[in-house]
Symmetry: C2
Subunit: 491 residues, 2 copies
């Protein structure tokens, strides 16, 4: 019965879409849909009713019209590199890919802005303006592949967001389409925009409020020089304290990253970045600016590192060495993938003052669960990325991993932090939202959602849990080993 | 009849309030209410039904309960220094002063944050943390008097927001009360907060979404050194082009202000700031940071100024001289008040590339209307503050001034800018909102408002015009001399 009803629904939606989209813009066969079954959180998969690949705004509007007419949910997707399942399709929904929106529309060197379509890859923006001496600052680890539309949806960060801010701080305007098919502008080309700040509201809203059609990004002049200090520490806690001291000294590094020994040893075997394998943890601390600024700042960074007990300090001698130091950080996730059958990347933010305490507690939890945990993260921001190493083929190990991950997120909340840094909530952390927010706050989120999408057709079931779900999650927490998403299909 | 109905309403509301507030926390007599009749936009005045001065959160909740029960609108007020009439009372409403919420609740030097109540004055935050070498960056001209609650409501800026951002970039969390009396937290103590960015949404919402009960602000380390370059130019356009060149050179000054000759001559007579009265315009361009950074940046600033045709360049020799240079900028508004019976301060933002063009057009309009106009503004941000000089005692001159102001705002929109920089919309610019936004965008604002305040009890009639009002404004524009706010009481 259910299968028949689904098939009928599928036929209705595919039929309606085929009347508004060209054949090559509509995928409805099982094998065509396979590439769209998951995003970067590949443990979760679902086959949508259909995937639509519109090439222009009127085709997007036509897809939304079908969604409204048939009451079908829509999940938008950029490059599909997201790590929290924000672009996970719904089995009863349309997957709307914005991959064909891939044009750099305009570059204004004087205003230092670029207008780009949502499917443009993050790194391509910087490549497109390199000849002008400009670049786009936010640099997620996935920047070769991830799209600016996805960056807006998740409010992505990166190594350099400590100094240069998150996506929301680096965009001026988003041209968007509401579920009703109206095209609206959020933000403006000027410093401030009157009315409510819907640009900030839409940024990080994980596709629940509107679809991004074009983004006006801010560009920065490429700094004359960048250098990175690599400092070794005898313990993770000592490195954590050094981070607090750097910030406490009034230095705003261009990036400030911590890697523990498990991470550095995995990396060295893989990319030979030149890390100190005797250190329990290393810090990478970057300075950028004019030659004089960098010289002054690097000297101050070294002084703080040494006072905080660094056992070795090195400074990149040239651009080649700087990139070599960073190559290890950028390759840390795949490097960890080489030493473990599976790993689970967590994303939480904590006040910097709590760094040493939280890192110590993660070590205890690692022993308790018998699971190794590598720490590689944006220390300057307090944005943790513990990587739990596990083997999905060992029965119960994934569940144990998720429990461990849940405890880290709850710990983040307990010290005054949050369950996200830059990866979003998606489906991954939706239950932890029940701990992060009280019912009145969740109710306010739902009211805002209804102000944009009263039928709840845009990416339902992601990012903000229903109060009902939270009530159930409260019950779930009694037996901690339960799966967080029993209602989602598993791969 | 109307008078009797108003009197009955007044008795009902005052009676209800008197049951929940102490006598000294409730003002209802005409003479007691006079100080609350207007904010900094003093051309508009109204007497509220009553003014409530609650001292704690349960008293605020009790006032809101009266408002809900009696269907009475509520206008919140901090120090009342706002320039767009955001805190203008409503004749049929309650004026809710948060002046008694004046505590600095907590200072965390390591996290570099402070928790303050909304009635705390902007400058007092920096004074309270000066012994720690810290300060709060946003510095509106009114910073001696304006409150942080008002700063949040208006998303205030200041001279230093070019480098350090607006209020929204300098706060982490707002504890707020909804119209239902629920206490909710927007934002978090960490880098990022999951869910929709309601902190940014509430910031600059002009009291229409919720009441601020506490603000967690970010603190910055006081820079080792600050120096200011004062450069003279033979025309306003040349100064405007120099601004674009400074930014184009990749310099981010701590402040970059332009004053034209009408402004500098008014200032020199008043505070003797040492300005070059032979110049048609001067720029004040500040650098802050370590000694080495400042030395390097000042040298680059001077080179750009000279290449842009500066006829004289001076650098502050010491802190005393730096403050003297800024004293003129800070006193510019009262100084202009000394050379004209009245002046009207406008606040618009334009893309920097349009500076010279817009300044030229303002000069033409000044001749057309026969009204002098002084330019004193945050040039680096493209945030204009033309001051139109007029005499309210000359019949028709205020109307002419408002028409001139309206043309400047419409010009800002035409070049891709906006009708606000940092003063908000309030009642002052509500009609220009009809030009800034299209109906679908205004409808989205109203939907967001309804998500917080479905009855429309919080500061109704401010910031976002109804579509009906915009339809009427469209008609109004045929006869340009019409008053922008015919339905508001005039002083």
């Amino acid at each position: 019965m259910t299968v028949n009803r689904n098939a009928a629904k599928r036929d209705e939606v595919v039929g309606a879409l085929s009347r508004v989209l060209a054949r090559e813009a509509l995928l409805a066969e099982r094998e065509e849909l396979m590439p769209y079954e998951c995003d970067g959180l590949s443990a979760y998969r679902a086959t949508p009713l259909a995937a639509a690949l519109p090439a222009n705004e009127s085709e997007v509007a036509a897809v939304l019209a079908v969604a409204r007419a048939t009451g079908t949910p829509v999940v938008a997707r950029g490059s599909g590199t997201g790590l929290s399942g924000g672009a996970l399709p719904l089995a009863d929904g349309i997957l709307l890919s914005l991959a064909k929106f891939s044009a750099v529309v305009a570059i204004d060197a004087l205003a230092r802005t670029a207008r780009v379509q949502p499917g443009v890859r993050n790194l391509r923006i910087s490549e497109s303006v390199a000849h002008l001496g400009l670049y786009y600052a936010p640099d997620p680890s996935s920047q070769i592949a991830c799209s600016i539309g996805g960056n807006v949806a998740e409010n992505s960060g990166g190594v350099h967001c400590l100094k240069y801010g998150l996506t929301v701080h680096n965009i001026l305007k988003v041209r968007a389409m509401t579920i009703d098919g109206d095209v609206v502008d959020f933000g403006s080309a000027a410093l401030d925009s009157p009315g409510y700040d819907l640009l900030a509201l839409i940024t990080g809203s994980e596709g629940l409020l509107a679809l991004t059609l074009e983004v006006t990004v801010k560009l920065l002049p490429r700094p004359e020089l960048a250098q990175v200090v690599m400092a070794s520490f005898p313990s993770v806690e000592a490195a954590g304290n050094a981070v607090a001291n750097v910030i406490g000294a009034g230095i705003v590094p261009a990036g400030l990253e911590l890697m523990d020994k498990l991470a550095t040893s995995a990396v060295e075997d893989y990319v030979h970045a030149g890390y100190d394998l005797d250190a329990e943890a290393i810090l990478l601390c970057e300075s950028d600016g004019s030659r004089e600024e960098v010289a002054d700042e690097i000297a101050r960074m070294i002084a703080v590192m040494q006072a905080a007990g660094a056992t070795r300090v090195a400074v990149s001698a040239d651009e080649r060495e700087r990139l070599k130091y960073w190559s290890g950080r950028k390759a840390a996730f795949p490097a960890v993938g080489r030493i473990s059958p599976d790993y689970y990347c967590i994303d939480g933010s904590i006040p910097r003052a709590a760094l040493a305490k939280v890192l110590g507690r993660i070590e205890e939890l690692s022993k308790h669960y018998g699971l190794r945990c590598a720490n590689v993260f944006h220390a300057g921001d307090g944005n943790l990325h513990p990587l739990i190493l596990y083997d999905a083929n060992i029965p119960g190990e994934l569940e144990k991993t998720e429990e461990f991950a849940g405890e880290i997120l709850e710990l983040s909340i307990a010290v005054g932090g949050t369950i996200t840094g830059e990866h979003g909530v998606g489906v991954e952390k939706i239950n932890q939202m029940c701990l992060q927010f009280k019912p009145q706050e969740l109710a306010q989120f739902h009211a805002v959602k209804a102000a944009f999408d009263p039928q709840g057709l845009l990416n339902p079931g992601k990012a903000v849990p229903t109060l009902h779900r939270c009530a159930e999650h409260g019950a779930m927490r009694v037996s901690r080993g339960a799966l967080p998403f029993p209602d989602l299909p598993r791969f």
